[in-house]
């Protein structure tokens, strides 16, 4: 492709990181004997190769920051489940569905990650993008969305190793359900 050594090194680093993510799947599947690893090792290499082809590395993924996001994400997805279950069981079914479109500067992969996260958070669901704006469906149209989007966007941007310009304008009110 190219003979610039910096680019090669970046590609190699991405490959190693992805292999590091994929490799723990092997023991989880029960492949912990030497014979199993003879098959599993090449499988990890093949999966890494496929991953690099399907999603070429754009920005370096910060594994530590990705892991740091997990607890908060799990907690908010728990809140999301409780929130929607409460609305479903409530006799009067408190719903006030509506739409919002929120601008986002994340790259495409980052938008998908943000969308997946928002689809599990309380009261929000992403239905694709239009002109770089996320189309967000809300169970409660009065929900304050902009703050939560900025907050999550900044987190994902940091995970993707972008310069976090959005950091200064972080609002404090945020991811709550109401």
């Amino acid at each position: 492709m190219t003979d610039r050594p910096g680019k090669h090194r970046a590609l190699l680093r991405s490959a190693l990181k992805r292999a590091l993510i994929l490799a723990p799947i092997l023991p989880a599947l029960g492949a912990d004997t030497r014979e199993a690893l003879l098959l599993g090792g090449p499988a990890v290499v093949a999966a890494t190769w496929l991953s690099l082809h399907l999603l070429p590395p754009q920005r370096p993924l910060r594994l530590i920051r990705f892991l740091a996001l997990l607890p908060g994400f799990l907690w908010r997805s728990l809140l999301g489940g409780v929130d929607v279950a409460w609305r479903a069981f409530h006799p009067r079914m408190p719903l006030n569905p509506g739409w919002a479109s929120v601008p986002s500067d994340l790259p495409d992969g980052g938008k998908v990650a943000l969308g997946a996260e928002f689809s599990l958070m309380p009261g929000t669901l992403v239905a694709g993008t239009r002109d770089g704006r996320l189309l967000v469906h809300m169970l409660d149209a009065d929900q304050h969305l902009e703050g939560a989007v900025r907050l999550e966007e900044a987190r994902i941007a940091r995970m993707l190793g972008q310069p976090d310009t959005a950091h200064e304008s972080l609002p404090t009110s945020g991811a709550g359900p109401s």
């Binding site: 929130d83 479903a88 079914m93 719903l95 009261g123 169970l139």
Partner: protein
């Protein structure tokens, strides 16, 4: 003690699965139903996975449960977006009742494009 915790977590998980189903039946439009399906079922599975993990006999078994749950989580977050996008393009699934007017109803900058997301 651990059995009691497993039992409690499974029952809680089942309640959230039930909530997801109730939401699909009661909620008025495709997108609201998708909220119920994605979020409540995801939490239900998480609780049941936790209940089963407490009964697991090896770390490998726990790792397998975590892997399954992580894959389902990933799939739920992704497929919810895809279904939501298609439902938006088609103006709500047939028989879903009145889906509201879509993002165009919001007072955001008008884009002039009829077809969202290309």
């Amino acid at each position: 003690m651990i059995d009691a915790a497993s039992l409690l977590l499974s029952v809680a998980g089942l309640i959230f699965f039930l909530a997801g189903t109730v939401g699909i039946l009661r909620f008025p439009d495709t997108h609201s139903r998708l909220h119920a399906l994605t979020k409540a079922d995801n939490l239900g599975l998480g609780l049941i996975a936790l209940a089963v993990a407490l009964q697991a006999e090896s770390w490998a078994a726990i790792a397998k449960i975590v892997l399954i749950w992580a894959l389902v989580l990933l799939a739920a977050g992704t497929s919810a977006q895809l279904v939501a996008r298609v439902a938006l393009q088609q103006g709500g699934a047939p028989g879903s009742g009145r889906d509201d007017a879509g993002p165009d109803a919001v007072g955001s900058t008008p884009s002039g494009q009829r077809d969202p997301a290309g």
